[in-house]
């Protein structure tokens, strides 16, 4: 993990508020693994104050790193308007990663909306290892405008299964409907291959994926998002309730957790709040 300055090389709009931020000078990120993230902040004064946690989309060995983001607030709006040459500070790579692709497992990569990056990178890693045929990407969003980088993913040679809530692209419905369909497909095929699920997206989608995996007894990993200020286990802002300990931290224990570890969070934490308690 390093703290360094990088520059925006290219800022490519993908429509629908999505954009790919290509940075140069990210040599310290070489060797980053799918699921890892950076804390990023531009030269934008005092407001917004905190750096943004962003999952890595792709990292090259020549110091280029790609991030995918969607405009949702002030920070991402400023990022989206940052022209090439803009300076940004980067802290990373941070956090853990998804399990590596393996020749004896089929990985179902389940992405919801802007939760795509770690799964895109996982697919890229599978393709690099010659294991693209052992992974499937299940990718869902509200409309076709929420499904981005499809050409790039087809280029990885990975099977792509799409779902949109309005039916404008792929299956009409949620990505979890597509997941159930793919699991049914694998059951019908009576394959003896082991299945594994990896997912990133909105919290409600992740719990739904986790429940499906639990009901089918399939190994499942969820990449969580949470508000965080530091990214290095100091602010303790990104706590999530967990099975084996009262709280785990998305930044240093995650962001990738076995679903069984964090599904407790779906039923909410039960400690008594210390109202107004401060650090």
């Amino acid at each position: 993990m390093r703290y360094f300055d990088a520059r925006v090389i290219e800022n490519r709009s993908l429509g629908g508020g999505y954009f790919v931020f290509r940075l140069g000078g990210c040599e310290p990120l070489a060797g980053s693994r799918p699921g890892q993230f950076v804390m990023l902040r531009g030269d934008w004064g005092r407001d917004p104050l905190l750096p943004r946690p962003l999952s890595l989309l792709s990292v090259a060995h020549d110091g280029r790193a790609d991030l995918l983001a969607k405009v949702v607030g002030k920070g991402t709006a400023l990022m989206e308007r940052s022209p090439p040459g803009s300076r940004v500070s980067v802290l990373g790579p941070l956090g853990n990663s998804f399990p590596e692709p393996s020749s004896d497992v089929t990985d179902l990569l389940v992405a919801g909306g802007v939760g795509l990056p770690p799964l895109f990178m996982q697919a890229e890693s599978a393709a690099r290892l010659g294991l693209a045929s052992g992974s499937e990407m299940l990718y869902g969003g509200r409309t076709s405008r929420d499904l981005v980088l499809l050409g790039e993913m087809r280029g990885q040679g990975i099977a792509l299964h799409l779902a949109t809530e309005d039916g404008s692209l792929g299956r009409r419905g949620r990505v979890t409907d597509e997941l159930e369909a793919r699991l049914e497909h694998w059951r019908a095929a009576a394959s003896t291959r082991r299945l594994r699920i990896m997912a990133c997206g909105p919290r409600a989608m992740l719990w739904a994926v986790g429940r499906i995996a639990q009901s089918c007894d399939i190994e499942c990993y969820l990449s969580l998002e949470e508000q965080m200020a530091c990214g290095i286990g100091v602010c303790l802002g990104c706590a999530v309730a967990a099975q084996t300990r009262p709280y785990r931290y998305v930044c240093k224990d995650g962001p990738v957790f076995p679903a069984s570890e964090v599904m407790a969070h779906a039923t909410a934490a039960s400690t008594s709040p210390n109202e107004g308690g401060q650090q």
Binding site: L49, S89, A229, G237, A239, T271, N274, G276, Q279
Partner: protein, 318 residues
């Protein structure tokens, strides 16, 4: 330390050496409790040796789990937190965190608290007995569970008793970090000074809240949280100045929204002998080191030979 100072003085560099509340610092910049972990987390990101000192996460007699999430949210030029004073407890601190701190090359103040009088006294005494602890900073913004959860630090008479009781068992420098959630910061500071505290740290976070209009829910689980960051600097500065002007007899460590060298200089001019950098360490993990350099640059540009001459140097026309 002395040889490097000699070298700098010989080269005409301004002296940043200072003293606050019974502790000598090689510069006036410390890092604030709750924003710098137990020091080790920042080892790869900034030179701990370059800091004046660091203040640890608040320690209680036993480990605490903290509050349910969401625990933080960003606000205009600041952030709210309600972590719930999560920490490893005295024993694990001594065993797991202190060995690193002992060798880190900077002054170490341990922030501590309890939920009862006895816990404060017990915790303070145990921490003060540890080798490698240069001083203690008492966090009095903790709810008193025996008094309906009202913070210890809001009532000058409760605070007087607490400081007196802790002072009696703590043989090391004892600072008290005051809450700004009061109508009379001077009364609180005086309660500390009159009962043997060596310094006051001003200010802790300001109570606030934020609402998500889409869900109509509070943005943090406990509804209220502590506001920090540049948004609170004017309030912090005003309180430091009020206490300095009241001549309570002990020095002040200024805290609240410091982002750069000029911010730190403002606190010195208002009357602080040293400062703590808090939320800015989240924004820029190497900021404390940069702030020290910027203070040095300011002194050089302004012909200030000794940083201590700035303390209370606010110029007010009569």
């Amino acid at each position: 330390m002395s040889s490097s100072l000699d070298t700098r003085e010989a080269a005409g560099a301004p002296a940043l050496l200072t003293n606050c509340g019974g502790i000598g610092f090689h510069n006036p910049v410390l890092t604030a409790s709750g924003t710098f972990g137990y020091g080790q987390e920042f080892d790869a990101l900034c030179s701990l040796r370059s800091l004046g000192g660091l203040v640890t996460k608040g320690i209680s007699p036993s480990p605490r789990l903290g509050n349910p999430p969401p625990r933080i949210c960003e606000t205009a030029a600041g952030m709210l937190n309600s972590i719930g004073l999560e920490n490893v407890g005295v024993e694990a601190f001594a065993r797991e965190k202190l060995p690193f701190l002992r060798a880190c090359g900077t002054r170490v103040l341990v922030n501590f608290f309890g939920t009862t009088f006895d816990e404060y006294v017990d915790c303070g005494a145990r921490l003060a007995a540890l080798d490698g602890v240069d001083g203690l900073e008492m966090n009095v913004s903790c709810p008193n569970i025996k008094a309906g959860g009202i913070e210890f630090g809001r009532d000058p008479s409760v605070l007087s008793d607490l400081v007196k009781a802790c002072r009696a068992v703590i043989r090391k420098p004892l600072w008290v970090k005051l809450t700004p959630n009061t109508s009379d910061i001077v009364a609180l500071a005086r309660a500390c000074a009159d009962n043997g505290a060596d310094a006051v740290s001003i200010i802790n976070t300001i109570t606030g809240m934020a609402i998500d209009v889409r869900t109509r829910r509070p943005k943090i689980a406990t509804v209220f949280g502590g506001l920090s960051g540049p948004a609170i600097k004017p309030v912090a500065l005003r309180m430091v100045y009020q206490v300095y002007r009241a001549k309570i007899g002990i020095p002040i460590c200024g805290i609240g929204g410091i982002q750069d060298g000029n911010d730190a200089i403002e606190f010195l001019l208002a009357g602080a002998s040293c400062v703590q950098v808090g939320t800015q360490s989240f924004v820029d993990p190497a900021s404390a080191e940069r702030i020290i350099r910027e203070m040095e640059d300011y002194c050089r540009a302004q012909g200030v030979i000794d940083v201590r001459e700035l303390v209370g140097g606010l110029a007010i026309s009569q």
